[in-house]
């Protein structure tokens, strides 16, 4: 039995496609992570966003944003990964926190700022989804194993029909990337390709990236 996706009551969520994660000189790159593996999600994300526009599927962008002094960092910043502070990861108002210029948020898109991996925890996201009668969520962006997966676990538990796009997510480590997709498929989501999603939405892109 396949879990079917359509464009009715559907939303696209683009997770954390920010300079801090995608650019070599961004904060993750400064920490020595291979941002190329994260930027690899870009073409897939671009095609999904273009498809969503055509299918009139609403697009939500999430941004990881910390206060300049990281007083909102909590256990993750203070104790688990204090180096995030050293490189000023995704500090509010900086280039690092901006959505990458290869993406194209439009007027009318909703941008959700968050300071935790899940796009649901302590954000406005769920109220928008409820208000718009969204039942199906397509998730893409970075990183597969951390912010994408935490968001997917939360979406699925809230009984949103949840879809993850294999070739529009990225992770710095291949083993964690593959196993994360496997874990999501196991209990939280259907894993699809960009082409599968576009087909399900009934859209064709004339100039496929």
């Amino acid at each position: 039995m396949t879990i079917e996706l359509g464009k009715e009551n559907c939303a696209l969520i683009v997770v954390d496609m920010q300079n801090g994660f995608l650019e070599p000189k961004g904060s993750m790159g400064q920490l020595g992570f291979d941002t190329g593996k994260l930027a690899a999600a870009t073409p897939g994300v671009q095609r999904l966003v273009a498809g969503a526009r055509k299918a009139k599927v609403p697009v939500f962008w999430t941004r990881y944003v910390y206060e300049p002094d990281f007083r909102d960092g909590g256990v993750q910043v203070e104790e688990i990964m204090p180096m995030l502070k050293d490189v000023n990861l995704c500090v509010q108002g900086t280039w690092d926190a901006e959505i990458h210029e290869d993406m194209a948020p439009e007027k009318g898109d909703v941008i959700i700022d968050k300071n935790r991996p899940s796009s649901f925890y302590a954000t406005r996201l769920e109220s928008y989804l409820r208000a718009q009668g969204i039942e199906n969520i397509v998730v893409c962006g970075v990183t597969t194993n951390i912010c994408v997966e935490t968001t997917v676990r939360d979406a699925s538990q809230r009984s949103y029909r949840t879809f993850v796009v294999r070739d529009a997510v990225g992770e710095v480590d291949d083993f964690r990337h593959e196993t994360s997709l496997k874990a999501m498929e196991y209990l939280f989501a259907r894993v699809m390709s960009v082409n599968d999603v576009l087909d399900s939405w009934g859209v064709e892109l004339s100039n496929a990236a």
């Binding site: 104790e79 688990i80 899940s118 925890y121 939360d154 538990q157 009984s159 196993t179 196991y186 939280f188």
Partner: protein
């Protein structure tokens, strides 16, 4: 810098150590899962509970429970894993849903029932932890990649300092087990052994199971 564990403001959370997952007659076995791999967490959990009692640390059990007709199952049951419904996994009031006899909660232990992987989502856990002024959570139980990890992701985002006991958790697949521990250690928790936790608590057990 290591995240230190002590006994102050600390609770032990024993996740889903139920007949369903850890016994031959359980529904996971019926679905063909290698339940022995989950049962493997039992000695470690027994040890952790004994140590917590000795150190005066509150013990909180979680219990996965569905309505008999699974009307509360949602996307996870209805579409991702319909097999759960077919076998009646952890249905309310059944032997399958009961916590293992060897880990039977004592009268003052808290038992948190849930119908989603996270013990935080739509349960009484967070208000209880706030009331008890708990800041540190030590996790054992099953399964590492599903309910333990989803709960740990949620706990850490809520700024509980999380500690996962690597030899007191269990998962049915090696790759998911390995990546779950790696992921939790990466951004959500400190991964420790039972021996290390006992040392932190300054507890010795004479008759180790």
């Amino acid at each position: 810098m290591t995240m230190e564990l002590g006994t102050d403001k600390t609770a032990l959370v024993v996740v889903d150590m139920q007949n369903s997952y850890c016994r031959d007659g359980g529904r996971m076995a019926k679905l063909g899962f290698p339940w022995e791999r989950l049962q493997a967490a039992e000695p470690g959990c027994i040890k952790m509970v004994a140590a917590a009692r000795k150190a005066g640390i509150p013990v909180i059990y979680t219990q996965y429970v569905y309505q008999e007709d699974f009307k509360d199952g949602g996307f996870i049951v209805d579409e991702i894993m319909p097999g759960l419904k077919d076998v009646g996994l952890c249905a309310l009031g059944t032997w399958d849903a009961e916590i293992l006899e060897t880990l039977k909660p004592e009268p003052n232990d808290a038992v948190i029932q849930k119908n989603r992987p996270s013990a935080f989502y739509a349960t009484q856990l967070e208000s209880m932890l706030a009331a008890m002024k708990i800041r540190n959570l030590v996790f054992c139980g099953v399964t590492t990649n599903m309910c333990v990890e989803t709960t740990v992701r949620d706990a850490c985002q809520r700024d509980f300092r999380c500690f996962v006991v690597s030899d007191a958790v269990g998962e049915v697949e090696d790759d998911r087990s390995e990546v779950a521990l790696m992921t939790m250690g990466f951004f959500f928790a400190r991964v420790m052994t039972t021996g290390e936790v006992l040392d932190s608590w300054k507890v010795e057990l004479e008759n180790v199971a």
